[in-house]
């Protein structure tokens, strides 16, 4: 048993590395799957582990895209002129400019989004329950509208980034591994974080925030920290997506509240809120479901997706892991009081 776990993780890691070589036609699909896993895991940090259901995490995805693009372009060319030309092809990027720009842009995207989370969180974390969800959704929608009217970043047309400079198949591998590395780092980090006192404290906030306050837990500080870490990773994958997609525009791609913004929540609900593996499994289930319906039931894909969301929310709220916890609590080390009543009322 003690050996089984490291072996499992080692096998998984090998699979992650070789998967894009075994399935070369699915490289972009697998990269998108990683994106889903990462946004699901980060959504679960606040939604599942801390009890704050944000519908505005897509804000960090979109903002990450824009910050990354502005920095990535900015190190080589004047941004305003570049976006004004709408990617007309008169701007060349050397290999160094491309990779350095991508690296710095992705990093800046993460840091900027973490700072945004601290500022937005300072105002929105006084909202509870559905009010927090609506409040954060409002931030994401407003940001999308604002950016689509901001000419410096290309307005409604969005931004076209340089194309991957070498072989395009190599480019697919490059983006796959950028996503995969981010995902593995995030998973390992969360696996550790949920076992620390910090992890226990945010669970306490979820279970009974008033009690947590009465016990002296720094509730606001912990909530801001959690969301900032979550936003960092969403910003990073936003930045990677920006380079992977080459062209993006504000409302349908960057601040896509009704697509990715909702998908990440559905992934977590499917897999099970508040568990480490739930969001990962949920993202895989969701992505497979989505791709199958898009391929074989074209025209009905949104109906199928809507039905999946309704069924999940109504009948399967705890998700796969939550259902397992109820039916097999002993697998999770949960023990409950036997029915015999001893002593107290």
């Amino acid at each position: 048993m003690t050996m089984a776990r490291p072996l499992f993780y080692a096998a998984l890691l090998i699979f992650i590395v070789v998967a894009p070589f075994i399935f070369p036609d699915f490289r972009t699909q697998l990269a998108t799957l990683w994106l889903m896993i990462i946004v699901a895991l980060t959504w679960d940090m606040t939604g599942g582990q801390m009890g704050y259901n944000s519908l505005g995490n897509i804000f960090f995805y979109g903002t990450g895209m824009y910050v990354c693009a502005v920095v990535g372009i900015g190190i080589a060319h004047p941004v305003a002129e570049y976006t004004n030309a709408s990617g007309g092809g008169i701007y060349k990027f050397t290999n160094t400019q491309y990779f350095l720009g991508a690296f710095l842009g992705i990093l800046a995207a993460g840091i900027f989004c973490a700072l945004c989370a601290l500022i937005i969180g300072y105002f929105t974390f006084s909202l509870r329950g559905p009010y927090f969800a609506i409040g954060t959704l409002g931030v994401a929608i407003a940001a999308g509208e604002l950016v689509s009217n901001w000419d410096f970043v290309g307005g409604g047309q969005g931004i076209a980034l340089p194309v991957y400079p070498n072989d395009l198949d190599q480019g697919k591998l490059f983006f796959y591994f950028l996503f995969a590395i981010t995902g593995v780092v995030l998973f390992v980090f969360l696996n550790w974080m949920y076992k620390t006192r910090f992890g226990a404290a945010i669970n306490a906030i979820r279970d009974d925030e008033e009690k947590a306050e009465a016990m002296g837990i720094h509730t606001l500080r912990y909530k801001l920290t959690t969301w900032a870490i979550s936003a960092f990773f969403v910003g990073v994958v936003g930045g990677i997506s920006a380079y992977q997609l080459i062209h993006f525009e504000p409302l349908e791609t960057a601040y896509q509240t009704i697509n990715l913004g909702i998908f990440m929540v559905v992934c977590v609900l499917l897999g099970g809120k508040g568990t480490l593996w739930g969001p990962v499994i949920g993202a895989i289930m969701f992505h497979v479901f989505k791709e199958v319906t898009w391929n074989y039931f074209l025209g009905w894909q949104w109906v199928a997706l809507g039905a999946l969301i309704v069924v999940t929310v109504v009948y399967f709220q705890d998700g796969l892991m939550g259902w397992l916890k109820h039916t097999k609590p002993e697998w999770f080390g949960i023990r409950v009081e036997s029915t015999s009543d001893e002593g107290a009322k």
Partner: protein
Amino acid sequence: MDTIIEVTDVSKSYGGVIANKDISMQVKKGSITGLIGPNGSGKTTMFNSIVGYHPINSGSIKFEGKEISKLQVPQIARLGLLRTFQQTRIYGDMNGVENMLVSQPHRKMSLRDAFTKNKNEDYERADHLLEFVGLYEKRFLQSGSLSFGQQKLLEFAMALMNEPTCLLLDEPTAGINPTLINGLIDRLQRANSEFGITLFIIEHNMRVIMNMADHIYCLAHGEMLAEGNPSDIQNDQRVVDAYLGAH
């Protein structure tokens, strides 16, 4: 003895209802002080005012000489002034040990400390205190599945884990089986004498509070009705009338 909590002329109203009117009281350091009064007399409102749960209309509340009436709940808790709830509150999805570990005092904990795992001595202290309240055997059970009385004991142990200097207990014996009450009284007294924690207790069970308290305040209709040692209170005609509804 020094005064640890000093309440001076505190008033609190909810809309038109005056829940506390010009209340003054002192809790001596190291004492067990009682707060009694009929239902709706403003006892829990007083507790909520002290721990910063709501703003007060006027007056001053000092803890160890520091004005706390403008502070937030977690800030006051981190000063070492803690409360338990009338409707027992524990983290129901966690087991007993997890409930204890998350209750460690956060006043000494920086953000960096928070990003560490619990140490062996933390587990030992949790086990020790769970044994102290008699829940050691049940420490790995999901705490939401414990009986009400056991949850109450767990909440008390969690409060002790937090190392408070002063503990406000809102009806610690309510809903507990009479046979367990004696054990609870004993533990409260030991928390006071062995751990040196000042106790300020709201209690309806007269036998309990008269046995334990050094000093008792009695509220009625939001006003201070009487104060004194237990025998004074027991012999005070106004207190008897208030409980019988003559007031």
